[in-house]
Amino acid sequence: MIHYVALLLYISALTLWVRSLLSGGRGKLAAFAFGIAAAGVFAHAAALARFTLLHGELPLVGLAPSLSTLALVIGAGLLATIGLGEVRRVGIVLIPLVILMEGLAVALGVQPAEGVLDFQGAWFALHVTLAFAGFGGMAVAFSAAVLYLLQFSTLKAKRLGAAFRFLPPLATLDRLGRIGLVAGLIALTLGLALGWAWTVRFRNSFQPTDPQVIWGMLTWTVFVSALVMRGRGSQHERRGALATVVGFTVVVVSYVVLRLAASTGGFFL
């Protein structure tokens, strides 16, 4: 039930953001949208806390709980922009991602996976949380990059309409993208290292062909590539934004492909 409330709040926030975009960011619509989205994140967190209390495990295993948690992490990434004024408008890209993931999780049913005793303990929880935080950082960078490219194209085309006024400055979006990538890369690197250690420690094996390992390494490579493409000190802002968008798309598409082909079934995120 609380998941539905969170979804409803997310959808309301998105509606307000779209209206704000159409009106060129006039008035307090965008700020109101952020407030509603924040309420959605809190409701979402409450729903997952209830899951944990009810089932005695963190919602980190199984597709639906994992997707929901990942959506929450991205929502939390949006909340982190609370004091950054216009930057909060990245919500117009982040919230659809959250709605998509949370909607999918709700459709699948946020229930604990069966036979997951293996996937318990602090190491595993930390590994997954850090990996999610890494993905959350990439999602923030992706949102900033999408808005950067939009603002860039309006400026190049000299169309100074509603979108131009709604979107934050290029430099601000570039900075946010860089922060998202750097923070995400650090979290993902730690998460992958812990995952490797956990596999060796508890499973006594490390299979490089495991879809999870392939996806994790691919995501890590995408992060590094996007940062390298930007150049030192944001020398190539637009190139960096393009690389981030392409990289994020590659990560999502490869996930879907691997997920469909995965032999480990429900245990792959």
Binding site: K158, L160, L167, A171, S234, E237, R238, R239
Partner: protein, 455 residues
């Protein structure tokens, strides 16, 4: 309504005439200071900007008062070519209210919807409050008029898009720079050509936090002069290509008969391409920058036609919302009319309240003589009871009297109330101006109209 405005503006006078009518702050205070004694104008506020000088005053019951207001402006404009009177306009009653609301909302401005005028209206009101006379020249009527004008200006800007977008070449340049670079404080700009338009853009950039602007000009001395005014630095004209990598904004405005910045020169100066955005504002005719430069990655090139198109587009969009803005203003003019009409019954309400308060005091004295044993707390309770009862009894008549005044039935009401309550007719002159508006006895004190009303 005996309220009027006499003024001169960009609609009626060219700049060389308008500047003759302009008042400095000290001059305005001096001019307002003598009006009550010399011309019988109890309240007056003077707005003086580069585009208008307007005197709002009250009362203006007869042509002589109107003439006295006009004389203030006429006297200031001594030396203006021809008769100063031909530039002046006069508005009375609700027309003057509507006019100020339009002015405050930017509807009467040279650049439709510009916001600066609202601050200037506020300054004008504050100047009137500083005139050393008692009571204030910004008395109750003009206080109400100007506070509501500021509020109307805020409403029009917040409820419509009249203030959105950039409406001059300089503001377009600043808006573009802001949307590319965010804060301008750590950015660098190079001004090529020491023309007036380029300087306007440079000044606008400086106002938005940019420091250390570089200036280059064929005549180096002119570059030095402009750099000094902008607190920047002059560089040799031929340094342009080598400086391209370090600057974020380039404003060109030379008188060269051909392009001074070619694609070849840009590529030569930036062999690795441009990673960071570069905003080029080309204000020159013929253009200083080859159009092909705009197709370079990360280069945003805007020439003077692009900027004019943006300005025209902004102004067109502002015109589209004029009907909405005018509707807001008409509603507010009607609200002012109602408030003003309600003032006519103020003497009657005051008299009525005085009479009943007197009776209440008499009856309380009678009561205290018979109930001498009451404690102070009990006495206070009885007093409060009598106050509350009187307030409730007078609430409805007060409301009805105000409504009657608003609906134009004030004379009948005054006569009836005076007869029923045996009030002294001497204090009930409807034309009398009141400085205070007695509160409805059963209602809480109304919120005072302070500057916080301005949005």
């Amino acid at each position: 309504m005996t309220l009027a405005v006499v003024g001169v503006s960009h609609h009626t006078a060219p700049v060389e005439a308008r500047e003759r009518f302009a008042f400095g702050n000290a001059e305005a205070i001096r001019a307002l200071g003598g009006l009550r004694e010399e011309a019988g104008l109890h309240e007056a506020v003077l707005i003086s900007t580069c585009n208008r000088t307007e005197l709002y005053f009250y009362p203006a019951a007869d042509p002589a008062a109107l003439e006295a207001g006009a004389a203030v402006l006429r006297n200031k404009a001594e030396g203006v070519e021809g008769s100063a009177d031909r530039y002046l306009y006069r508005k009375q009653g609700l027309d003057s209210v509507r006019h100020l609301y339009c002015v405050s909302a930017g509807l009467d401005s040279m650049v439709l919807g510009e916001a600066e005028i609202q601050g200037q209206v506020k300054v004008a009101y504050e100047l009137a409050t500083r005139v050393p006379v008692k009571p204030s020249m910004a008395g109750p009527v003009l206080h109400r008029l100007f506070q509501t004008a500021l509020s109307v200006g805020g409403r029009v800007r917040s409820e419509t898009t009249i203030g959105q977008g950039a409406a001059s070449v300089a503001t377009v340049a600043v808006e573009l720079a802001g949307k590319i670079f965010g804060s301008l404080e750590s950015r660098r700009a190079l001004i090529l050509g020491a023309g007036a338009n380029a300087e306007l853009v440079a000044e606008a950039l400086t106002r938005h936090g940019m420091r250390g602007i570089l200036v280059a000009n064929r005549t180096h001395e002119r570059a030095v002069d402009m750099a000094e005014r902008l607190e920047g630095a002059a560089i040799p004209y031929d340094d342009l290509p080598s400086r391209l990598e370090e600057v974020d904004i380039l404003v060109t405005s030379t008188a060269a008969p051909h392009a001074v910045l070619s694609l070849e020169a840009v590529r030569g100066a930036l062999p690795q391409g441009r990673g960071r955005p570069l905003l080029i504002i080309d204000l020159a005719i013929p253009r200083d920058v080859e159009p092909a430069v705009g197709s370079e990655p990360n280069v945003f090139l805007y020439n003077v036609d692009d900027l004019r198109e943006i300005v025209d587009d902004t102004l067109d969009r502002r015109k589209d919302v004029l009907p909405v803005a005018e509707r807001i203003i008409e509603n507010e003019v009607e609200a002012f009319r109602r408030w003003y009409a309600g003032r006519q019954v103020v003497p009657l309400i005051r008299s009525l309240r005085g009479r009943w308060d007197g009776m209440r005091d008499q009856e309380l004295q009678w009561l205290w003589q018979r109930l001498g044993h009451l404690s102070p707390d009990d006495r206070e309770m009885v007093e409060r009871f009598s106050e509350r009862l009187l307030g409730k009894l007078l609430h409805e008549p007060t409301v009805r009297l105000r409504e009657g005044a608003v609906n134009g039935r004030v004379a009948d009401f005054v006569e009836a109330v005076r007869y029923l309550h045996d009030l002294d007719p001497a204090g009930l002159d409807l034309a009398q101006d009141e400085d205070e508006d007695p509160a409805d006895p059963a209602e809480p004190e109304p919120e005072s109209l302070t500057e916080s009303d301005e949005t």
